[in-house]
């Protein structure tokens, strides 16, 4: 261990770096943990923006005949709220976890393509700015809904450049998502520590893998749809021009063929997180691991066969409606299997009601409600009543907010000590949970009722005699409670990241490999790549063989050497010198990813000025790619 000690000594003596150097080091970083932090911080800022949009919407709807915002602004608000929450909030927080946790869980030193990983982040940032470009430039934000039904996306049904920003922004975000997903597919398949077979991978890694496959298969579909919208708007093609015989229905099929897998892209990371949090905080292995994994796989496949349940009222015919009813009801089964497995995991466990555990339990509660309301509109006659009412809004928020967002919060609290090396404030965390739990039910539950009594979605106001005012007022109060809970969360995170108690390597008595290394992990993660003998490798190390896995006894001579504990606590975030002194070569920082990403952003932004101006951005992109290809991955140091 002498080398490690020396490295720490050197790190402590190192002079404080200049601010500019620090910023440059973040711009050029290719370290998955730092990229994960960039993703997380950016996504939380966008999440905040989308939350403010939601609060304005709720203020407008609190009273009947409200005139706070005009109809056009309202259309932009609900469109941007959805787009920002989905593409710039929930998805990137999921990707942040892929980055922060997956390489640690599989015992890898980085992802397969570190520079591509940096590219994903910077392209995500430029896509996010582009999507908000209408707001930034004042040219008009997207206003046709996140679903962008044809031909509401084209003149004369929409005016301004909003939907051009929509298609460009989502195209660029798609590049980012796909690049990231390719990276994680390769990382998970190809960079697992020795002994970590597929059926020994932590459930979160499995859900990441499934999500990544959904990303690389679903995004090409919407990419084509977005290109069609963009070409219709900018070059006068006829894809959705009904005057030329086009069918607006084609867009609905393309969009929902992407849109439904997208729903699972949003929820699967949360399912994975909950499958990690519940066993750890119940101090029991995950019950029925293979069922949880195969349910995830089945969800991934079946997610492709249910898209037309978004289109029951279109009139596709009885046969199509019946088929999609059956597939939609069937997909509830694997989801239900997972829920029963989580409950069975808790059964007989010694449960600790920590903040992440509370969020995981809240997730189960909310997700069940959202799942049940989902099953009601799997039936076309019921759906015909519910379509385009607030009942749907209630359902989607129970699964997206009550499901995805609460699940992601569980993950944020669970891994906060690992990522920052410090503990969050438990009391504030619990306050956050209860306020959020109360607030979200108060916001979204009345929407079921007001929807069933007939309040349609996407209306900017309603008459006083409709009788919807009370429910809407409740929802608005709930929304502000949610806002307050979010402020507590932010305060907790910012304060604890700087002043929280030292968390130590393993505050939760964790099961997976990330808890065997220091918090925050050194740049190289593992001084020695560990060998895995079961599904709970960290427990094996601490308590000896768990007896779960037959092959353990055959292949192992007891717990692995303590070389795996990877140095003393508080080794802190290492620099390249540390890695070097251990003889580990990490990839060098690179500025090419941000240049290539700027090429994407500039090409998109200039497209608004005039399609041919994008050539400037494309030139930067191509030159950046050549520079990238010419740059060696790692400096030769010998």
């Amino acid at each position: 261990m002498a080398t490690v000690d020396k490295a720490i000594d050197r790190a402590l003596e190192r002079p404080k770096p200049k601010a500019l150097d620090v910023i440059w080091s973040w711009i050029t970083t290719v370290d998955h943990k730092r990229i994960g932090i960039l993703y997380m911080v950016t996504a939380i800022i966008f999440f905040l923006v989308a939350g403010v949009e939601a609060l304005i919407i709720r203020l407008q709807l609190a009273r009947a005949d409200s005139t706070l915002v005009d109809p056009e602004t309202y259309n932009q608000l609900f469109t941007m709220h959805a787009l920002t929450m989905i593409f710039l909030g929930v998805m990137p927080i999921g990707v942040a976890f892929f980055n922060l946790i997956v390489p640690l869980m599989i015992g890898a030193r980085d992802v397969a393509f570190p520079r591509l990983n940096a590219l994903s982040y910077w392209v995500f940032l430029s896509g996010g700015l582009l999507l908000n470009g209408g707001f930034i430039s004042g040219l008009g934000s997207p206003n046709s809904g996140w679903f962008a039904y044809a031909n509401l996306t084209e003149e004369p049904f929409t005016t301004g450049d909003g939907m051009t920003f929509y298609s460009l922004g989502l195209l660029v975000l798609g590049v980012s998502s796909m690049a990231g997903a390719f990276n994680f597919i390769v990382t998970i398949i190809n960079m697992r520590a020795p002994g970590m077979g597929l059926m020994r991978m932590p459930p979160f890694v499995w859900m990441t893998l499934i999500t990544s496959f959904l990303l690389v298969t679903a995004f090409p579909v919407i990419t084509v749809g977005l290109i069609q919208i963009l070409f219709d708007r900018s070059f006068g093609t006829n894809f959705f021009n009904t005057q030329a015989g086009a069918s607006p229905l084609l867009w609905q099929h393309i969009f929902w063929l992407f849109g439904h897998p997208e729903v699972y892209i949003l929820i699967l990371p949360a399912l994975g997180i909950v499958s990690e949090v519940i066993p750890t905080h119940s101090r029991k292995p995950l019950f029925g691991y293979p069922f949880v994994i195969f349910s995830g796989i089945v969800i991934g496949f079946m997610g492709w066969g249910v898209w037309s349940h978004h289109m029951f009222t279109v009139g596709l015919g009885n046969i199509a409606n019946s088929v999609f009813t059956i597939t939609t009801m069937l997909i509830a089964i694997p989801t239900g299997v997972k829920i029963f497995n989580w409950i069975a995991t808790m059964w007989g466990g010694s449960i600790r009601f920590t903040t992440p555990m509370l969020f995981a339990l809240g997730f189960i509660f909310m997700f069940i409600i959202g799942g049940l309301s989902g099953v009601t509109h799997a039936s076309p006659p019921a759906d015909a009543q519910q379509q385009d009412t607030y009942y749907i809004v209630a359902h989607l928020h129970y699964v997206l907010f009550g499901g995805s967002v609460i699940g992601l919060f569980a993950g944020i609290y669970h891994w906060f000590p690992k990522v920052t090396g410090r503990m969050y404030n438990e009391n504030m965390g619990k306050l956050h949970f209860w306020l959020l739990f109360l607030g979200s039910n108060l916001t979204f539950f009345p929407m079921h009722i007001v929807g069933l009594v007939g309040m349609p979605r996407r209306i900017y106001t309603y008459p006083a005699d409709a009788g919807w005012e009370g429910y809407n007022m409740l929802s608005t109060v709930g929304a502000f409670l949610l806002g307050a809970s979010f402020l507590i969360f932010l305060h907790n995170m910012v304060r604890s990241a700087r002043k929280g108690e030292r968390a130590g390597n393993d505050p939760w008595d964790g099961r997976s490999l990330e808890w065997t290394i220091p918090s925050p992990p050194p740049e190289y993660n593992f001084a020695e790549i560990p060998t895995v003998y079961s599904r709970d490798p960290a427990w094996d190390l601490k308590y000896g063989p768990t007896g779960q896995d037959e092959t353990y006894r055959e292949t192992s001579n007891g717990p692995v050497s303590d070389g795996l504990s990877n140095g003393p606590e508080g080794a802190g975030y290492g620099s390249e010198t540390d890695a070097q002194s251990l003889g580990i070569h990490m990839p060098s920082p690179s500025y090419w990813p941000i240049i290539v990403a700027m090429g994407f952003g500039i090409a998109g932004a200039l497209f608004i000025v005039g399609p041919w101006f994008s050539a400037i951005g494309v030139t930067i992109l191509v030159l950046g790619l050549y520079g990238w290809a010419a740059e060696p991955v790692s400096k030769e140091e010998h």
Binding site: M1, A2, T3, V4, A108, R109, D110, A112, F113, P114, M178, F182, N183, I185, V186, I189, N190, M191, R192, V216, T217, A218, F219, P220, V221, T223, V224, G225, I227, Q228, F231, F235, G236, T237, N238, F239, A244, G245, A246, S247, L250, I254, A527, E528, I529, S561, G563, L582, G583, I584, H585, M586, P587, Y626, A629, P632, V633, S634
Partner: protein
């Protein structure tokens, strides 16, 4: 301190599957591309025979000419195989000949495509179509992406395929340049193999497009005389 496993350049030498990261990535990428082209082709098929005005495929699709360019593209795949074979043997001279040949044939295919697009868009297209009621003769203006549904779906689908071929040609020339600089050795055969995978994939996509658009759909035109009468054409004797 325990033994540190051998690793270089941040990329572990031994991977879980034994496959190189880049190769796995390329296969995942090509899988994703299947859905990209699948959606473009589906759009074409959904809108097939739905154009309200001409020109229709029957009036302008020239199967013999495109058969030639298709043959050229398929032969470029053969040359790609020879290119990879040459670099695997470390034969730089043969490698350079074959890779330039591949690039040349790819560029020839693109030349045919530019010619075809130009012909479609600029030329006028005369047609004669006979029904039970009699025959109709007329002339269409050029076919552009904004003329009708056929134009939009055809140009965007074939255009994106052409863009893929263009990327492939630039990639081929770049590797040729690297070979001249001495930066592409026998041990770098994988980099040529990756390009090969991409190149063969783009070829396969063209086989699908050629079959559907040219061989099967090349004779598409309205079967109802009313479609022509509605556009102001009259019967000739």
């Amino acid at each position: 301190m325990a033994q540190v496993p051998a690793s270089t350049h941040g990329v572990e030498l031994e991977t879980t599957t034994g496959l190189d990261h880049r190769k796995l990535m390329m296969w995942a990428f090509l899988g994703s591309e299947c859905l990209f082209f699948g959606t473009l082709i589906s759009t074409y098929l959904v809108y097939r025979n739905n154009s309200l005005v001409g020109p229709y495929p029957k009036d302008i699709i020239d199967v013999p000419v495109t058969s030639v360019s298709t043959f050229v593209l398929l032969m470029s795949s053969f040359m790609m195989v020879m290119t990879l074979n040459a670099i695997r043997k470390g034969d730089q001279r043969a490698f350079r000949v074959w890779i330039l040949g591949t690039a040349f044939m790819g560029a020839t295919f693109l030349g045919f495509q530019v010619f075809e697009f130009y012909e479609f868009a600029i030329e006028e297209h005369e047609f004669t179509k006979c029904f039970a009621e009699g025959c109709i003769e007329g002339t269409w203006g050029g076919l552009t992406p904004w003329t009708n549904l056929f134009g939009s779906t055809f140009f965007v689908m074939v255009g994106f395929h052409g863009a893929h071929v263009t990327v492939g040609v630039i990639w081929l020339i770049s590797l040729f340049g690297q070979s001249l600089q001495g930066n592409l050795k026998q041990k770098d055969a994988l980099r040529v193999e990756l390009l090969g995978l991409y190149w063969h994939f783009v070829d396969i996509v063209w086989i699908v497009i050629f079959t559907l658009v040219y061989l099967i759909g090349g004779n598409d035109a309205p079967t109802d005389i009313q479609a022509y009468l509605d556009q102001g054409f009259q019967l000739v004797q």
